[in-house]
């Protein structure tokens, strides 16, 4: 990094929030994705701003000197979104973690991007409000990262994803100008919907410094059921019929046998023999409606061939059942030296066929593939378990991933439900969107970031300017 840039950045944030020692640079070279740690993608420096003004000043400096800027929250992304592949400055936003305002009348809150999702959820819960998006990483991921990746979660089947709660954003543009999109008006067709453009933009169009989200009233009651099936088909059928029948679960999480066994290695897990798939179902709402809903779910599940149906008796039991699901990603990862976790999304009714194809791909390549995901919305997380240090496995895994993506696209699905494209799915974006659409993305990128300093090398190849 040029001495002049370093000096100016130090002037903005001071020594305590500027790091450029080798080790600090290394620790901001990775995220929660399966990209290899070495050789590391080292940033030149890491800065931790605490205000919009500081972010704007940093961007003005970086823009003037063509220094890449990579926004980062908790670094818990799964596709390399915050990995500084082109070096430059990692803009660590974890210290911008204040909840600025709660407007109870309009049921909206204004937050900074570094607020941890779960902390926000709890703060709102205390006031009787409900912020539904609940990515599995919500205990440690940040709202800024959720917005940048348009994170989903288990509740998406009933409540939608992060996008559905963002009413407005404060964004620092590549050159340091600050804009505010959207607002508290529920109906708003003044100009293009820039709020939606920035949601899911993966840090490539601007740096999000404030987020206005809408809230719901807290559902007064919740129930949790675990449905065990002898086949994945039966499990998927049950979920499709539930939703068709008007019982929309607050979550319907599918787990295959391999995934359940992975969690069982570290936690007590109790499912009947012969379970090939389980579905964890939450229902929420008025307490008097939950009894009849639970009974209908049980009836539908049994009709679809469930071998066991269990309802959590209390909150502690519900938490224990949920642990099964929340621990799943990392627990599956612990089964092999490498886990290549994917995030495909298909129409709900295509889930059984997608799972059949996944299993077939696994057999053909000789990989164990663990499958879990959000059956209610068709978003699946197949994980290829392998040892990439073994000769030839890397190539085989790449080929298998390509086939998985192809299968998802053939079934009317897409590359990513909630993790974003980042680096790991970049080679497939043209297959998913087509040349023309990718050109449109690039035009937007050029318009907002002509010098290509914002998170370069992500989403599509050959970004503008660099």
């Amino acid at each position: 990094m040029k001495e002049a840039v370093k000096r100016q950045l130090l002037d903005i944030v001071g020594e305590d929030r500027f790091f450029d020692q080798d080790l600090d640079r290394f620790t901001y070279s990775y995220d929660g994705s399966f990209l290899p740690l070495v050789p590391p993608h080292l940033p030149d420096a890491v800065v931790q701003p605490v205000s919009t003004e500081e972010v704007a000043a940093i961007l003005r400096v970086c823009h003037a000197h063509d220094v890449p800027v990579v926004p980062r929250g908790a670094g818990s992304g799964r596709t390399g979104g915050s990995v500084p592949v082109a070096g430059g400055v990692v803009l660590s936003l974890q210290r911008m973690n204040r909840i600025l305002d709660l407007d109870e009348g309009n049921m909206m809150a204004l937050v900074e991007p570094g607020v941890v999702t779960f902390d926000f959820y709890q703060a709102m819960e205390k006031k009787g409000f409900f912020y539904p998006p609940d990515p599995a990483s919500w205990k440690f991921c940040t709202l800024g990262g959720n917005v940048a990746e348009n994170a989903g979660g288990a509740r998406a089947v009933k409540y939608g994803v992060t996008r559905d709660y963002v009413m407005g954003l404060q964004v620092v543009l590549a050159d340091g100008r600050v804009i505010e999109t959207g607002g508290k008006a529920v109906k708003n067709v003044t100009g293009y919907d820039l709020t939606r453009l920035f949601v899911g933009s993966e840090g490539t169009l601007g740096v999000i410094t404030r987020i206005l989200v809408r809230l719901l009233p807290l559902p007064p009651a919740k129930r949790t059921l675990l449905l065990c099936f002898g086949s994945v088909d039966d499990a998927s059928t049950a979920v499709v019929r539930m939703i068709q029948g008007g019982v929309i679960p607050a979550a319907a999480e599918l787990m295959d046998r391999v995934s359940i066994e992975a969690v069982a290695r570290a936690h007590p897990v109790d499912v009947p023999r012969g379970t090939e798939a389980a579905v964890l179902v939450d229902i929420d709402g008025e307490p008097e409606l939950l009894g009849p809903q639970a009974r209908r779910i049980v009836a539908i599940a049994r009709d679809a061939g469930a071998i066991e149906v269990r309802e959590a008796a209390d909150e502690a039991e519900a938490d224990a059942l949920w642990l099964l699901r929340r621990a799943m990603g990392p627990a599956v990862a612990a089964m092999a030296p490498n886990k290549i976790g994917e995030d495909i999304s298909v129409p709900r009714t295509a889930v059984p066929e997608m799972i059949r194809r996944l299993q077939e791909i696994g057999r053909r390549y000789g990989f164990t593939i663990a499958i879990f995901g959000h059956a209610g919305d068709g978003n699946l997380h197949p994980s290829i378990l392998t040892d990439l240090s073994q000769e030839g496995n890397r190539e085989k895994a790449d080929a298998a991933v390509a086939e998985i993506f192809r299968a998802a696209l053939q079934l009317g699905g897409t590359l990513s439900g909630e993790h974003g494209i980042g680096i790991t799915k970049l080679p497939f974006i043209v297959d998913a969107l087509g040349e023309a659409q990718v050109e449109v993305l690039k035009s937007i990128k050029r318009a907002l970031d002509p010098r290509g300093i914002l998170n370069p090398g992500k989403i599509f190849a050959g970004g503008a300017g660099r």
Binding site: F19, Q21, D22, L23, D24, F26, T27, Y28, Y30, D31, G32, S33, F34, L37, V38, P39, P40, L42, V46, Q48, A74, G75, S76, S92, Q94, R95, V116, F118, S137, K139, F140, C141, A266, R326, A327, G329, P330, A331, A333, A334, P337, K339
Partner: protein
Amino acid sequence: MSAVDELARIVAQCDRCGACQAVCPLFAHLGKEAAVARGKVAMLRAYLEGGLGADAVSVARALDLCLLCQACAANCPSKVNVPRAVLLGRAALAPSVAPPRLVRAADAALVRPGVLALLGLLVRVYRSRRVYRLLEATGALGLVRAVAGEVVDFLPPPAGLPGADSSAVAAMASSGRAAGRGLAAGGTARGKVHYFAGCLMKTVYPHVSRATISLLRAAGYEVEVPPARCCGLPLLAHGRLEEARRLAAHNVAAFRDAEVVVTDCASCGAGLKEYGWLLGSDPVWRLQAREFADRVRDVSEFLVGVRTEAAPAGGGRPRVDGRRSGLRVTYHDPCHLVRGQKIKAPPRELVRATGVEFVEMAGADTCCGGGGSFHLIHRDVSRRILARKIEAAEETGARLLLTACPGCLMQLQYGVRRAGSTLQVMHIVEFLHAVNSAGAGPAPRAH
């Protein structure tokens, strides 16, 4: 498996999800990746794979910045044993860094029983009221500080002097308001236990040791105190794996005849219970070490067992009616007890059984910032963590803050003095001993 192989195996299990960020006390205060478990595991992995691009010294320094509180491991979805990785990493990097003077001095003392005994004597002299007053009056206290450094600040001043333990429990006990259904003192011996006296207990808290021994005796046990050496945990924490193993082997031999090994130091207990691992690659000691580890009990774990066993007979259980004492008590979980030994309920049960009002404090099981010698080396962040801990204890409105590890005890007492709080900090056995002695005679002074 060699230490480096084991290290490589552990760090390969991390999938870098980042869950440790939610629980690491250092990360909460420092907010940078190098401070959190994921950062340390990643740097170790890259270091072993040969692509880190940072030198061994900076890695060693980063590894040094860990409380070994185990919060990361307890909350890790993949159950990555980060504390062990940190220990093994420190051992692997030990040849490339010189530890701070203080740490070197402490390690040197810990492996020499004679030096340790001398230190114990010095502490006793320092803590005698007359000597302390003399030091204070002549200004020599400053000189002591200049020679011994900040260590002195962590020593509790003599009883009865400002900043020392006031004696809430002793007062309660001697007021006679406790009901006085004490232990079946000196009853038929129910068996023999061997008491493991940790180094801090011997040098700074001998009165706690005495309380533990007399509680065990009162519960009907014959108590033997074999010549224990340091449990090895501090040396392990300082990357001195081989010396830790030698000490472990000594202790296994010294307690060869013990059926039950009881300790009142949570850190020693956690260390001792890991001997099976520590000596796991030693063909001579492996089996004995594992058997030894299985026989180790924390004092609260042991006493709760005694209570349960003795309940039908009604005798010999440490139970005194403290209901009318009006004393409100809270408890801090030592990391090495709640996570290191998974003991959470027993100390609470024992305290509740006395009938005093027990109030849970917020974040009872988060680290106090002590971390062995951590508080002496990383003073800033340690004090920030400690200040929050004392606040949480104060918020309960308790008069007494109990804990179960001399390391925490020292740190918490320091924190209370620093904050100018009126809280009294005590080891749980001091408290139990005081309430148990209430009916039987004068309560022991805190000193």
